[in-house]
Symmetry: C2
Subunit: 272 residues, 2 copies
């Protein structure tokens, strides 16, 4: 693959198999969208990464230099995606326990903005049979343990769907396999709480802020799948899709897109 | 680190950061003990690996050649540990979804048998506050998503403990952070069912078989932590420790070791 890759600042894609990122999924990642050679919402990505490092006690501190490195990879690349992986680094001994003296590995790769398979006007979302294990210690983080998402995406391979919603093992709606989800019904806008599982997306945060600014607070709460038939509008969010209206949810057509359009206009305009 | 490493049959520890094992923890591992230059219970390790490949739809088939490779790495090394990681291989495109044409990566490393920190006569086991998310699709597999175990081992760093038991998010006892667990009370021997989480260990399987052969069937069932005060004997198992008696469980001394000793004698004698 011709994917520009920098590992700890060197232009290489080779790293040691002793890295704890591979051994245990012991690390974090961020997927950063770049427009006109400039990373978007970089401060928010670094903020989430910092929270992840704290939670995993991953000894990395130099977020400023990392931000500059991400910017350097994006410059001159126009519209692209930079993926960052930050692992706890090579294992110093065998076994799960870190010894606290590990030296983290940072991996940056630059990717072309993919051609979306779906037209934005026909975005069908199903419900995955793959559920998410619940762990409050890891909830919200964009960590490297992603087998559940791999299984969910594998299972939808032959289905005419652009995304699937995943439920927690307790049966509550959490979000898409690679996105967060928002709903609107007669009571207003709401999105699943992520205290037990799920990834707290940057675009989710921006949507909540934009809604608040527009005078429509988003309720962050437990969402039961039995509520879905009452939903009038729904949209998924991530930094690549922005705010993407769902046109069919679990087979039922949804035509309203008023919230999604207004919110995306606000978010997009605030960071031109 | 001076760790002999073979990746896809080549003596190197370098692999591409595009490998899905690193990107998503999309792979499996086995930790194989070797004595006198010979891997022990190799057929059982390969059997579990095969089940894991089926469950993850990881397109690997050549288990016979892999077994020979593991044996070749162990030969002349006396007493050692061979770790195998099998990933889905380098990503062909960005995103969770495998395209089905991936070419798996196999990584073999040889390690010295570690000097055990604990004396086998003083083996204290606590209860971890880190819980295990429940996912029946992944339960039992030795896959690469191991952040929960990393967190549990990190948390016990300063505690005078050799192992911790982990509960599921539903509050049932599942096993040790790197072992399975068995208990004995007045009703007989029992071990946690692993339908929702946990790793189905090779030594756990051997213990169940040995107990059956000795006329003492092990009950495999849900184990509530409130049962622990009634337990008279308890032991943890993995291929390195064998059958390891617990001398203190959650602070309470346990002195009986009759089951553990008898079972290990049977297992050890059956594979000299």
């Amino acid at each position: 693959m011709n994917t520009p890759t920098w590992i700890n600042g060197c232009a290489t894609d080779q790293l040691t198999s002793a890295d704890r990122g591979l051994q245990y999924g012991d690390g974090l990642f961020e997927t950063i969208t770049c427009i006109d050679g400039r990373p978007r919402w970089l401060a928010l990505h670094l903020q989430r990464l910092r929270r992840g490092c704290e939670r995993l006690q991953l000894p990395f501190a130099d977020f400023e230099a990392l931000g500059a490195e991400i910017a350097a990879m994006a410059i001159d690349a126009g519209r692209c995606i930079v993926k960052l992986i930050l692992t706890r680094g090579p294992a110093r001994r065998r076994g799960y326990r870190p010894d606290g003296s590990e030296s983290p590995t940072r991996i940056l790769t630059r990717h072309e903005w993919p051609v979306e398979a779906a037209s934005v006007t026909d975005f069908r979302v199903g419900i995955s049979s793959v559920r998410l294990g619940m762990n409050p210690l890891l909830a919200g983080l964009k960590h490297l343990n992603r087998l559940e998402q791999v299984m969910a995406q594998s299972a939808m391979r032959d289905a005419p769907l652009e995304e699937v919603l995943m439920l927690s093992s307790a049966g509550q709606v959490i979000g898409g396999s690679m996105s967060n989800v928002f709903f609107a019904d007669d009571s207003g806008l709401f999105t699943p709480a992520l205290e037990d599982c799920g990834v707290a997306g940057i675009m989710r945060q921006l949507v909540c802020q934009a809604a608040m600014a527009a005078g429509t607070a988003v309720q962050v709460r437990a969402v039961d799948p039995r509520e879905l038939p009452r939903v009038r509008e729904a949209f998924v969010t991530n930094v690549r899709w922005g705010v993407q209206s769902i046109t069919a949810l679990d087979g039922r057509a949804l035509t309203r897109q008023s919230h999604a359009r207004a919110l995306w206009r606000l978010i997009d305009a605030a960071d031109p």
